[in-house]
Symmetry: C2
Subunit: 341 residues, 2 copies
Amino acid sequence: MIKSVTLKDIARETGVHTSTVSRALDPEAKKALTDEVVDRVRNAAQRMGYRRNRLASGLRTSRTMTVGLLIPDITNTLFPPIVRGVESILENAGYASIIVNTDNDIDRENKLVEVLLERGVDGIIDAAAHRSDPRIVEVAQENVPIVTVNRLIEGATVPSVVNDDAEGIRMLLDHLYAASHRNIAHIAGPKTLSTGVARRLAFERTTKKMGLQIPNQAVVHATRFDEDAGWLCAETLFQSNWKFTAILCANDRLAIGAIDYLEKHGMKCPKDISVTGFNDLPFLDRISPGLTTVRVEQFEVGRLSAELLVKMMKDPSAEVPPTTVLPVQLIERASVAAPKT
Amino acid sequence: MIKSVTLKDIARETGVHTSTVSRALDPEAKKALTDEVVDRVRNAAQRMGYRRNRLASGLRTSRTMTVGLLIPDITNTLFPPIVRGVESILENAGYASIIVNTDNDIDRENKLVEVLLERGVDGIIDAAAHRSDPRIVEVAQENVPIVTVNRLIEGATVPSVVNDDAEGIRMLLDHLYAASHRNIAHIAGPKTLSTGVARRLAFERTTKKMGLQIPNQAVVHATRFDEDAGWLCAETLFQSNWKFTAILCANDRLAIGAIDYLEKHGMKCPKDISVTGFNDLPFLDRISPGLTTVRVEQFEVGRLSAELLVKMMKDPSAEVPPTTVLPVQLIERASVAAPKT
DNA sequence: TTGAAAGCGCTAACAA
DNA sequence: TTGTTAGCGCTTTCAA
């Protein structure tokens, strides 16, 4: 922080009162002033290199034009496009974003919410929410505008913008079924995250509807959405005595881990086992085999969540839809083939 | 922003003055107080859910415990690890970060610096600096602590933490030479970025030292560090009448674009043409062919830059090294082979 | 149309 | 060891 030109300086320079300077610089309030005064003040401000002190104005108005962004981990390529989507709206609306990484640790998340609140953020976009996230719900109830993105908090009234997980899983199962797979395993995501559970439920519901026999051992839960967890879950699946020809994974990184496991154990994807992912992370079209997956609209989901948030920040009593669901798209690549006969 | 418990509330509750409350809550100042008072105040604060208003304290002290982070584009996988490196230091030191994306547009960068300064950041880490970046230099001269990371500003005194570009290029050329390449083309980075120029200069200097004949047409400049630019540059190279067996690219994304171009034109990498990158982005080990490249310490470069910044913020007259250069490492993968004979 | 005055919540110099 | 006081820079009500 740097000492700089203040309203008082401009007032002295132009021979008007600071309150008049303040008005002249405010697009709304300046309407009440003579054009001549407005010009004089604005010119002086420009010339003197005036920069509004948002700490001071925020202290006065309780609006900092800053929002908080909770991200699990910015190095996970799922999130940067969401951030850009959020920013595409926020920047134009005059907001800056404080971004923090929770590492999916709810204690960290709670602590970081405090970091944001201390800095007086006008609202929060939470891409790191847990299915059960009492602290976020609490803060939302204290009238801090919050929207969750990509994930949702169950049983709460925090608005969310999410992808159509159920439809994505249905598409993948359809695709696997069409490729003649009948014994399909599922590497499910963490039980603490709405995406993990929504996709697993969709898996169970859809396979049932399709009339597939899916034993309990066919579904293994990952504790994290990453490659290591995918590897471990694949290991568990192969250690069970149930035979399967395909693994539907709750996200791309689990799928990559599973494929790594296969290849380290002398199997080929898709020749021996077909594997599918979810999210369509960047670069997935370039790896071998190309991963069949479901594309989610990362940028768009971010953009929409920011639109909702801006609406809520402008008008705390604004009506926003509790859940906005974005369509997803099946991306067929090389990791699915007909099972060996 | 939400109205909340203030020092005054706690003062009223505990029967001491607000200044005493302020002291009791400050680890330094509390030493001057009775343990009993400190306990009483801290308990009350805890119980009442006190949260320090950093706007108010920042207004008073000119320190917001917030820093600004200028990034070209967070969706470029080079930068998230740098951000995490920065955060690893900043978070522990009590700072939060406002992150903005400049898209390598210097006008945007200048505008966003203003956004940061308005919010009273205590310092700035600039991963988006241009070789010539007068505004950043200006701001640094106004005693805002700034350090550039990954790139540097030429002829300025803004401290920087960068990778050993020259050594990386030398390693790559060594490697290509050892694989019997003698006619090596270079897709150089943007002329406006220090990384682009440093690597090109190293290319020219090293090839000369090696006694290689490198005509002018062998070096093509990309206007951006991305795949499209890599494609375009490859096209230019092949349209010239000079024959080469390898392309050393100024970064990984250019290399990927070049490889795409090759394959779309019936050539194979590395069979027909060898290609190398720079940075070792995540996922590069999984694409085909695996890209031979130079690994830079992304996290570490971020971590170090934050350490310097913290030092500067704590003590504006602290001595920090003008340039810190981190070692790089050659990563041999499949994109280099001996030239066809 | 403009000025005066108060106060957002906090910290720090000074006084007691 | 604690209280008093002033003021960071801004906005906004009220008054003129």
